[in-house]
Symmetry: C2
Subunit: 328 residues, 2 copies
């Protein structure tokens, strides 16, 4: 009897252990031809935002997403798409980037941006520019026309001149709303919704790209650089894993190398949603912000630990959605 049952029972236990040890394989959905996700910032967005204002945000997100959808569907490359969609968001005064940039403590608009190509990890970024209309396009020039990754402040402005990138006078960035936000921030130590715009895309050729642009924090110290122009913190793209753009309390995103960490967790077998949940839910603190990411198979993650995040996603299967608070 011992001969008959003991090894068999042990066998069952061992088989159970083996099954428990084996990597979990869930059935993989078919890869999508193209996909895009974008954000316009995360933070304490009041639920009682007037319907008219809410609809303005949703309309802007829809227009940006539609541009990306049209271009990706027509076969445009991911790098061109993320740059073009970020430019549209930079030109929109609603978002804290380009035209709608917030003011720093000295009443100046200092802008940061970065872009990364998943094909070969090429990347470019600018920080602390004050007269460049579309910082994302200057970031791309840094990537394409210099051996460097990051140019800052006066050096970046001088480079913009060399490249013939469109300059504007500092008054271009003036919006009454951002100016009032600075006055409020100066009079109290209050926080306003974190603002940044970002776009990630997978194109028909299977390439990934990510782009992020921001005006930084209202009332930030002159010269402060957040995570948006830091490759690995606010932006990352690698064809083998995913493209990520982050928004939130930039210092925390630098500390945890958020975008790069999501990519590395995927190298270790996590899905894009698992990796994003690990970082935003497990490593960052509640209220820090959020990310949008698209994986090499077109799966999208939009994860935040704030009250809301202006965001949208679309793909070749017909998905097309924009949200501010949790999705219905």
């Amino acid at each position: 009897m011992v001969c008959r049952f003991f090894p068999l029972r042990l066998l069952r236990v061992l088989v159970l252990i083996l099954v428990a040890c084996a990597p979990v394989r869930t059935p993989k959905p078919p890869a999508l031809d193209w996909a895009i996700a974008l954000h316009g910032g995360a933070g304490a967005i009041p639920r009682d935002t007037p319907a008219e204002e809410r609809d303005r945000y949703l309309a802007s997100l829809q227009a940006a997403l539609q541009l990306g959808v049209d271009r990706l569907d027509a076969g445009a490359g991911a790098m061109d798409v993320v740059e073009e969609v970020v430019r549209l968001l930079e030109d929109d005064p609603l978002f804290n980037a380009g035209k709608g940039a917030v003011f720093n403590l000295d009443g100046v608009n200092e802008l940061d941006a970065s872009i990364m190509d998943g094909r070969d990890l090429s990347c470019g970024a600018v920080a602390g520019v004050t007269t460049v209309k579309n910082p994302i396009s200057l970031a791309r020039k840094v990537m394409e026309a210099t051996p460097h990754v990051l140019l800052a402040a006066d050096g970046a402005e001088a480079f913009a001149d060399e490249m013939g990138v469109e300059r504007v006078s500092p008054e271009y960035y003036y919006t009454e709303r951002r100016w009032q936000a600075l006055q409020e921030a100066r009079s109290k130590s209050g926080a306003e919704p974190h603002g940044t715009v970002g776009v990630v895309a997978l194109d028909r050729d299977g390439h990934l790209a990510a782009a992020t642009s921001t005006g930084g924090l209202t009332a930030k110290r002159f010269g402060r650089i957040g995570d948006s122009p830091i490759i690995g913190a606010g932006t990352y793209a690698d064809d083998r894993t995913c493209a990520v753009s982050a928004t939130g309390q930039g210092e925390e995103f630098i500390r945890h190398g958020v975008a790069r960490t999501i990519s590395l967790l995927m190298e270790n077998g996590r899905t894009v949603r698992q990796a994003a949940a690990d970082v935003v839910g497990g490593r960052l603190r509640p209220g820090d912000g959020g990310i949008v990411a698209v994986a090499a198979d077109g799966a999208v993650a939009m994860v935040y630990n704030t009250d809301g995040m202006f965001r949208g996603a679309a793909d070749a299967s017909g998905r097309f959605e924009v949200h501010i608070w949790e999705a219905p």
Copy 2:
């Protein structure tokens, strides 16, 4: 017979599979009370460097290492030790940091530095400062006295004034050798050894810290920021894994998030030497540079893919060594 042997044979096979699946555990050496490693740059350091010059470098490395050893042995905290040892290297005209900083394309010395505390991932950094004697100490002030991580250019200089950090006139950084290097770089597209200094330490309380400081690249474009002030690229420290300081072709180190990647690979079970070898040997290109790292148990990695790296390591077991080319 079937009852007797078949399950037993299957059992053996299953046990073998289980053993093969189990994580490899090599016997762990006892943790060290304290440890330190430092570098003074990596690159194409000519093997026929005159003995006198070679000995000057080795003496400087030894003096810096000895300062760290004395302080750690006496119970100083890792953050104080990495700052103090980097200050000594910044004051030494031999190394490309502080006093010995190289010139950018415009003949200006622009300095970058960063520091990180493994206890809570606190960190601070400065980029593009031109009149700060010891950028590493200004980086620490950014960490301790602002909510920010990275301040750049004029904003960082203004902050130095507020903090009473020692300023110098730009002439302070003039060294004949670096000026000649700029003239040579201007006349050809030659590369010179990558220069940066960095220190990592484990203190008697089990805390890790990392610090990196540089003058950047000879003949770099005005405003260019490399990996040294980028947390996650040139510098990282986390008590749960390791402290890392990098030196080399900064753009590549940003692209691959070198310091943060080594830490994350250790989270996934690699030793510090395995993680460093994976990144420097497997992800970077030959000639890109190197890193020094110390793990939470005091194990040290000094890995480079260039001809040489100015470096040294010491620990509580009595180890004390400095090298330029491969260790004998």
